[in-house]
Symmetry: C2
Subunit: 242 residues, 2 copies
């Protein structure tokens, strides 16, 4: 079973204060780049893997999705998502992406935001998603960028000339990474970019586009702290098609 850090009270109280939890999609700077990868959502049966508070499921319905299923490991998240959602065509379920099963050809669009780097067996999950989608369907997701999370101790450093740099090491050594983020010992799984993309290709997805989130000038004007995201790739956004 995947680590359920989201139901740890300390974690959840910190995490709930993140801009993207308080402000929803407007608090997620990568959202415009991510939804630029979406197909026309009208009439689609969507599934959101690691749905959190359900912001994306509600957005998809506003854009005309036929229905949405949101799955998340966290009981906290799912119960909050249900409270926030006055829409009978959205179903939220508690589920572990590590062992999840989905019905065959039951969805026309699959999505996930910043969840898959918590999953040990990504290959299995990709096969489940492939089987659950109808032919031609898009599968769009974001993860923490492997360069953001590979290092044994990822934090900004100044080199001997005062240049601000992001450190990389252990890149080729895939597997568990433990980090402290609102709680001690949050477990993530590092995979190389190639490993993630090849899992998709192997399962039968065709890669449509790969984006490594970088803030726009406009975004930096509004939120100056985003400027450092020009220095390192923080998130990897992938669009693929069954």
């Amino acid at each position: 079973m995947a680590q359920n850090i989201y139901d740890n009270p300390d974690f959840f109280s910190g995490y709930s204060q993140l801009p993207r939890q308080v402000h929803g999609l407007d608090g997620a700077p990568e959202w415009p780049a991510l939804c630029a990868m979406f197909p026309d959502i009208g009439g689609k049966r969507a599934v959101d893997l690691g749905c959190g508070l359900g912001w994306v499921s509600r957005w998809l319905r506003e854009k005309g999705a036929h229905s949405a299923l949101g799955v998340d490991l966290s009981e906290n998240m799912i119960s909050r998502a249900r409270e926030l959602t006055p829409d009978a065509a959205i179903d939220y379920r508690i589920g572990d992406l590590e062992t999840l099963d989905l019905p065959e050809a039951a969805f026309d669009f699959a999505f996930s935001s910043l969840a898959f780097h918590y999953i040990r067996d990504f290959d299995r999950l990709v096969r489940v998603v492939h089987r659950a989608l109808t032919p031609g369907s898009f599968f769009v997701f974001s993860i923490e960028h492997p360069i953001f999370m590979a290092a044994t101790d990822p934090h900004w450093i100044e080199d001997e000339n005062g240049q601000k740099i992001w450190p990389v090491n252990r890149y080729a050594v895939e597997g568990e990474r433990r980090t402290d983020w609102f709680a001690k010992g949050v477990v993530k799984y590092h995979r190389r970019i190639g490993t993630t993309l090849n899992a998709l290709a192997r399962a039968g997805f065709v890669i449509q586009a790969v984006d490594e989130f970088a803030p726009t000038i406009e975004q930096i004007k509004q939120v100056p702290t985003l400027e450092e995201e020009l220095e390192r790739p923080m998130m990897l956004l992938v669009s693929s098609r069954r």
Copy 2:
């Protein structure tokens, strides 16, 4: 026109001593991973972009390729390649990948090793290759990994805890990078991984596999200095299909 560093005598005398120039493909640790991406070469008309001394063109013919065209900017390289090649089905031509044109549907396999990071207009080149290949043909290439070359001053650093790290900065800022490598001011062009892959998809190629070269345990035993390539991704290998 692309910078022709290879015909600078200082550069060429240093470069010629690299293991991969002296020992050919056996001196290139990524070669096994790269040729694992190749289709069956038998009967194929191949083109090698940035062919250098022609090691790959000769290898392709040994594996049964119908013919090979090697293109390189460097007169030094092309004249040495011709001397080394007793094979009338291999043609070497001096050509600039920045402005190269190729005949339509004239090739069944396109290859390039560590050349495209010298090219400013990768989009144009990808369209030229797409047009020059027959449907179903593979296009396999390697480049310096964007993480290897993005930083303003790429060199091994120790962090405050003595961890050996590879620095990343300016990752989202694409374009020219100047480095000193056998000569001063060698010009390379940094593109994000997404930019390279999206150029392929946009031109009509389907991405088959992405590999970020890492040495095997066996390779590290034979060449212990390769161990540091576990820390950072040094080369990006891409297989795509028209």
